[in-house]
Symmetry: C2
């Protein structure tokens, strides 16, 4: 029903059409038309309306159906099979089911909206319709399970490289895998693993990139910690960005598979905004402050405290606030 | 249909009943009766047959429906929910699906037969009807993912303890988790994991214990490497053995959750038949021989070779043959 209304509006873009006309065309009441228009507006469709003139579709969000993703894609395998959904609970959940059923390496689950997007440490990830690129990548790496945790560092490096390519040059990595722009998160990564003790069945790399989120889309709490390409005033096509991200991910994954993680850890260090900073570390069992000095070969963060060097395997690391020049 | 035939035989156990009578009672042809009898025999039902006298059910295999498992079970949580199947592809596969859907800790998937039982290193596990205890245990441990590999050592210790309790005193552990009796495997363990980088979603511990497998049930290749309680001439009730196994698993799991793995690694060393032996190690990328000297804190095997000490994380370890006294 909503699709009928949308199709009719798209066919008549930039023209005013009356609610009566839409109601007749789609075989629904005028109240139903009005309700569908409200939902479409929430999804980013700019629809003007004036009494007596009716509705006019001014602008439609840029969606990412598979045929658009495939068009001009430079990868060998990543993204060659895109499973596309308007809305899912979490792309990672869908991808894990597909992986269990044998989906091959490089398969992507992409959704315009997630109702239950998940982040690290059981946090949620806000994923409204078409305001970001919410996807999961299925991998079947040849590493040992204990190497899998480095996949998340790989993702952070590949994404930062892709962001630099499309013009977001200020982005850097906060340990382990947040990508920050002026201290605010622009991407979330949740890597999940299915393995036996000596063999990885599959890895699902869930990535959420905030593209078109506006400040008004964010709650008061999220405003403090989140940003987006739109907020940073870096115009980008979702299609071009997604294709670049898949390309960089494939490049770095190939490096890891053939030569191991040394090069990736080295690049991570260069792109890091954590190393060299004073940090507050909150671990499941304790908290402490110190200076982040290095990453070890396993990808763990080394923090120098007053009593010695702590190895941080998991937990929350906050870079202590530094005065930032106000931006216009 | 087959159940009808079986029920009728069970109601008339130790009596001869004619094929004609069974055919009338179950509403199937005499040829169908004969076919069902053949399948029941393959499943371990001892059914005699003589021309003119008909069929006589002499002995039925000991099955493990949930109500039998619950009866007298001494555990708090393990086995309090038994999902029971006549036949599945692999209990681990079923358990992983249940775990994804939120099954709670301690849930068991038990099948009388597996058509595609899986073992370590992508090997199969022969699991014919009611000739072993084929089950998977769902766990949600509070450890970090990198600790999960020790779960497999925990399983080996708990099973060996349970076997000793029911009278199989000669069993010992071959690294990492085979339980051997006079050099032959009596149990297989395949532990699988679903996790994010810093949190275990669930562990599925798949265990196959050979109880009633006879030598004639085994292929030529399996005869060389496998054994069972029946072959070792240790009479055991499947129910009693299973309950003891669940009890020991729960005990050792509680220890790991509250005090960590030190005690479990120490017990593993005592029960090991690998330590102190000359071994041949086959790893994915190389092979070597040496003497197994210890287990490190991560549960990896330390092997002393001519050139130094090798740490074995995964791979196949063969204890070099030692002359064994022939048994009667």
């Amino acid at each position: 029903m909503r699709q009928d209304v949308l199709d009719f509006l798209l066919r008549n873009q930039h023209q005013f059409i009356s609610g009566q006309k839409i109601s007749e065309e789609c075989g629904i009441t005028r109240t139903a038309v009005w309700k569908h228009i409200q939902v479409l507006r929430q999804r980013g469709y700019v629809i003007e309306s004036y009494t007596k003139r009716g509705y006019c579709l001014i602008e439609a969000p840029e969606l990412l159906p598979p045929e658009r993703v495939y068009d001009g894609l430079k990868t060998q395998v990543f993204g060659c099979d895109v499973q596309y959904f308007e809305k899912v609970d979490s792309t990672n959940n869908v991808a894990k089911k597909l992986a269990e059923d044998g989906a091959r390496e490089g398969t992507i689950v992409l959704a315009e909206e997630q109702s239950g997007g998940r982040g690290r440490l059981s946090r949620g990830w806000y994923s409204p319709f078409a305001k970001g690129i919410w996807f999961s990548l299925i991998l079947r790496p040849p590493f040992m399970p204990m190497e899998a945790s480095k996949m998340t560092l790989l993702a952070a490096v590949a994404l930062t490289k892709a962001f630099h390519k499309v013009g977001l040059i200020e982005s850097g990595i906060k340990w382990p895998n947040d990508i920050l722009v002026k201290g605010r998160k622009i991407v979330g990564i949740l890597t999940e693993l299915s393995a036996s003790m000596e063999h990885i069945n599959y890895v699902v790399m869930g990535i959420g990139i905030n593209t078109g989120l506006a400040k008004r889309d964010l709650s008061k709490d999220l405003k403090k910690i989140s940003t987006s390409f739109l907020i940073e005033n870096v115009p980008v096509s979702r299609k071009a960005l997604f294709q670049e991200v898949l390309f960089q991910l494939e490049q770095y994954y190939a490096i890891a598979c053939t030569s191991g993680f040394d090069k990736i850890l080295a690049e991570w260090k260069i792109l890091s905004v954590t190393l060299g900073q004073d940090v507050e570390v909150t671990m499941p069992d304790r908290a402490f402050t110190g200076k982040a000095i290095d990453l070890n070969d396993s990808g763990h963060l080394l923090v120098e405290t007053e009593t010695g060097i702590e190895t941080v395997l998991a937990g929350d690391v906050k870079v202590r606030p530094v005065a930032v020049e106000p931006t216009n």
